[in-house]
């Protein structure tokens, strides 16, 4: 099982990956709080992008409503913690369960009735949108007024309750991201990965080869929604405040998928590279503009737009596929 993860991966790729991981491991010792907060954001987008990529990049199902899974999971874990004192590592299971159930419900409706492509994407938007409206009026979690987790100064990190300093969040998120990377690699190199790619490429031919297309699409949605739930829980405990208007908004869904699109849909390292490039560059642009004395609201969004434009025109497969070719890393990362 372990050997399958590294099967056919060039040594150079492993070495580079190891160096990259080592850099991420020591990074918090070298940088200040601000940079650390950006690195957390990078990991957050890398992980969530990876989760989205399972559905779109592997199985070819475009979801533009992944904020639904983030939001539902964030609210579940936060409400369990605030109302019942149930810690995040216990609450996360219910959060995952509910997210997966939402995903399976949408998937069932769509795939049973042959809704695909753009129409499927619209359906995912619709569900995220009306969940947002629902949560606006959901008094148990304070509706549109926002739901808050208690915040105090923590002298000691409490990883079991996800209460503590940013550096603790950083390492937990790093671990999750690494595990997700390995998990996706494991999926992609197995039978299920081949089946997903076949469905992505040519569903009719896939079915002719004995693949139960409906079942494998549903599995993709379930895994993607379940993984995304974890970022929702993390979001809740890291930011300590949840607003339906923000967490369920479509711009959140779009933000999540920019990383994989720019990095390279369907590749394993694409979402990570995309998250690094986008977040670091976007923050730099904001900083530079700030230093120059301009505080332009929305500059980040404009920058995202430009990045997307450039990538789509010049690198339609994302940055990673041509880059890995240049680095001589083969085709399977």
């Amino acid at each position: 099982m372990i050997s399958r993860l590294v099967d056919g991966v060039p040594r150079r790729a492993l070495i580079l990956l190891g160096l990259f991981l080592a850099l991420l491991l020591v990074a918090p010792l070298l940088v200040d709080g601000y940079i650390l907060s950006i690195l957390i954001l990078v990991l957050y987008f890398a992980y969530t992008g990876q989760a989205w990529n399972v559905m779109m990049g592997f199985a070819g199902q475009l979801s533009l409503g992944h904020s639904l899974y983030v939001g539902v999971a964030a609210y579940t874990a936060a409400a369990l913690y605030v109302h019942f004192g149930i810690g995040p590592w216990a609450g996360v299971w219910l959060a995952i369960l509910i997210s997966v159930a939402c995903g399976l419900f949408i998937g069932f409706l769509a795939f049973r009735f042959g809704i695909s492509g753009v129409y499927f994407a619209l359906l995912t938007i619709a569900f995220a949108e009306f969940t947002r409206v629902g949560f606006d009026h959901f008094d148990w979690v304070n509706g549109s007024g926002g739901f808050f987790l208690p915040v105090t100064q923590y002298s000691v990190n409490d990883p079991l309750n996800l209460r503590g300093a940013p550096v603790m969040f950083y390492y937990i998120l790093l671990a999750i991201t690494v595990l997700a990377f390995l998990f996706c690699r494991w999926l992609l190199t197995g039978r299920i990965g081949y089946y997903w790619l076949a469905i992505r490429e040519e569903p009719e031919a896939a079915q002719t080869l004995g693949i139960n297309v409906f079942r494998y699409k549903m599995i993709a949605v379930a895994i993607s929604a379940g993984m995304t739930a974890l970022s929702g829980v993390f979001f809740a405990f890291y930011y300590n405040n949840l607003f339906p208007e923000q967490i369920f908004s479509m711009s959140r869904s779009i933000e999540l998928i920019l990383g994989p699109i720019i990095g390279g849909i369907g590749s394993l390292f694409g979402p990570i590279l995309g998250a690094v490039v986008l977040t670091v560059l976007a923050e730099s642009v904001t900083e530079i503009m700030h230093a120059l004395g301009y505080d332009i609201p929305g500059i980040k969004q404009v920058f995202y737009g430009l990045c997307l434009l450039v990538v789509i025109i010049y690198l339609p497969n994302g940055i990673w596929p041509p880059l890995r070719k240049r680095l001589g890393l083969g085709d399977h990362s």
């Binding site: 399958r4 039978r191 081949y194 490429e201 040519e202 079915q207 080869l209």
Partner: protein, 242 residues
């Protein structure tokens, strides 16, 4: 279990009032090669699609190894032991030739590494091993046709449905394909093919079924069928000298 591997009994299919196939019957004996021929629009591919589970027949029944299979989903038909190719090829374009075939091989072999070896063997059998690492999108049309066959074959079918796999091939390539199918047949694979290339039909088939306007108008040994006046009139026309 009947002596016939596949029995198609009186199947019909209409599309918005257009009767594409009308009470067509045919049987494919175990171990044989049967050709389904007919002019364009005769309903050959519709027949295939009903056998392969794409459409459910409006009337009639289809049995495979004595079991009713009409109306089953295509993936279940595949598991029953029927592999098919598409007339308009449908390769997994972003995947390499080998990966394309691995997808098929995974039906019987869940371990990817074993499936890869199996897929290599299938590619080798079709003379495509040198193309293994090429993305399917970069293959030529004849290569893609062969890839279709390789992919279907990798699922280890008992019955192989071939939908115009010779079209667009040069005569020498056709002869190569004919040799491949003869060899496959010798190894026990039963074949039902739709074909326009008479060179291949004559060389391969033990039996020919002629479809015209959705109806079976003749059946029999290839030499008999090409002399059948009804067939000559509707279909072969100028090729009648063959």
């Amino acid at each position: 279990m009947s002596a016939h591997l596949l029995t198609v009994d009186g199947i019909s299919k209409s599309f918005r009032g257009l009767r594409a196939v009308s009470a067509a019957s045919l049987t494919v004996p175990q171990g044989s090669i049967v050709s389904l021929i007919g002019p364009n629009g005769a309903g050959k591919t519709t027949c295939f699609n009903m056998i392969a589970g794409v459409f459910k027949p409006d009337e009639g029944s289809i049995s495979f190894e004595g079991r009713r299979i009409d109306g089953l989903r295509p993936d279940l038909i595949c598991h029953a032991g029927i592999g098919r190719t598409f007339q308009i090829v449908k390769p997994f374009k972003e995947l390499t030739a080998l990966q394309n075939v691995i997808v098929g091989a995974l039906r019987t072999e869940p371990d990817v590494r074993v499936a890869r070896r199996k897929a290599e063997a299938v590619l080798d059998r079709l003379g495509m091993l040198d193309k293994r690492d090429q993305p399917a999108a970069q293959l030529t049309l004849p290569e893609r046709k062969r890839l279709e066959v390789a992919r279907a074959l990798a699922t280890e079918p008992k019955l192989l449905l071939l939908d115009e796999v010779m079209a667009g091939l040069r005569p020498t390539e056709t002869d190569q394909m004919v040799a491949v199918f003869k060899e496959l047949n010798r190894q026990g694979v039963t074949i039902l093919l739709i074909e326009h290339v008479m060179r291949a039909v004559m060389a391969l088939s033990q039996q020919v079924v002629v479809l015209h306007h959705g109806q079976v108008i003749a059946r029999g040994a290839p030499e008999e069928v090409v002399r059948d006046p009804a067939v000559l009139e509707c279909y072969l026309g100028e090729e009648a000298e063959v």
